[in-house]
């Protein structure tokens, strides 16, 4: 199952709720303001890193770029995708839950 999250983890519980309910083996895609969760050295970095043990985390590259988050500022192991990759994730997972 693909989970999308679009809220900054510093302002909303969406990511936390998503991680609490996502089953092991899920794909989790960070879009819009949720890409701030992909940054290293933040208050939520350890939460994201521990989620990476059971799920695969992706971040939408155009949203990272728009916010000036380069790969040097990111948690290593987070996968970058474009809108084409977003579509591909929606195809390969049999359902999508948007944690709006």
């Amino acid at each position: 199952m693909l989970h999308t999250v679009n809220k900054s983890p510093f302002d909303s519980h969406s990511l936390q709720t998503c991680l609490g309910l996502a089953k092991a083996g899920s794909d989790i895609l960070l879009i819009e303001d949720a890409v701030y969760a992909a940054m290293s050295g933040t208050a939520v970095t350890s939460m994201v890193e521990s989620a990476m043990n059971s799920s695969t985390i992706y971040a939408l590259e155009p949203d990272l770029k728009a916010r000036g988050i380069g790969s040097e500022k990111m948690i290593s192991g987070i996968n970058l995708v474009g809108y084409d990759g977003f579509v591909e994730l929606a195809v390969t997972n049999d359902k999508v839950q948007s944690w709006l």
Partner: protein
């Protein structure tokens, strides 16, 4: 594969309408089908032709209209949500005694049943909002 897209926020305030548009484009570019784009909540504001953004900004409404024109996409605005927020087509304007309509080309106003159908008919339903 058949996709439906639901847009729950208006243009410009929130990025959701942009993400939904770019996703929809990418679905078509990948050779998949868009069964329907359904606009709900403040998302109905994506469908007013009165929108006139500054010239150096993207025109979110025209972008949807062009997509509908070029790819024959069904853009549906929820009637109940639209009436609350002043989005009208000719029939709705007449029925409610309003002096004009404002629906943008390529959009149509219909009921929530269209959303349920979009969920049933499409292989995937993606929701974009706040």
């Amino acid at each position: 594969m058949k996709f439906s897209v639901m847009v729950n926020e208006g243009p410009y305030t929130h990025q959701a309408a942009d993400t939904a548009y770019h996703f929809t484009r990418a679905v078509l570019d990948a050779g998949h089908e868009i069964f329907r784009v359904f606009f709900y909540h403040d998302g109905v504001h994506n469908g007013t032709r009165m929108t006139t953004p500054p010239q150096d900004d993207r025109h979110i409404v025209d972008r949807w209209s062009e997509l509908a024109h070029d790819h024959d996409i069904d853009l549906v605005v929820c009637v109940a949500a639209a009436q609350r927020r002043g989005i009208l087509d000719k029939d709705e304007a007449k029925r409610n005694g309003k002096d004009g309509d404002n629906i943008a080309p390529g959009f149509r106003i219909s009921g929530l049943g269209q959303l349920i159908e979009a969920g049933i008919e499409a292989d995937r339903l993606l929701v974009f909002g706040d």
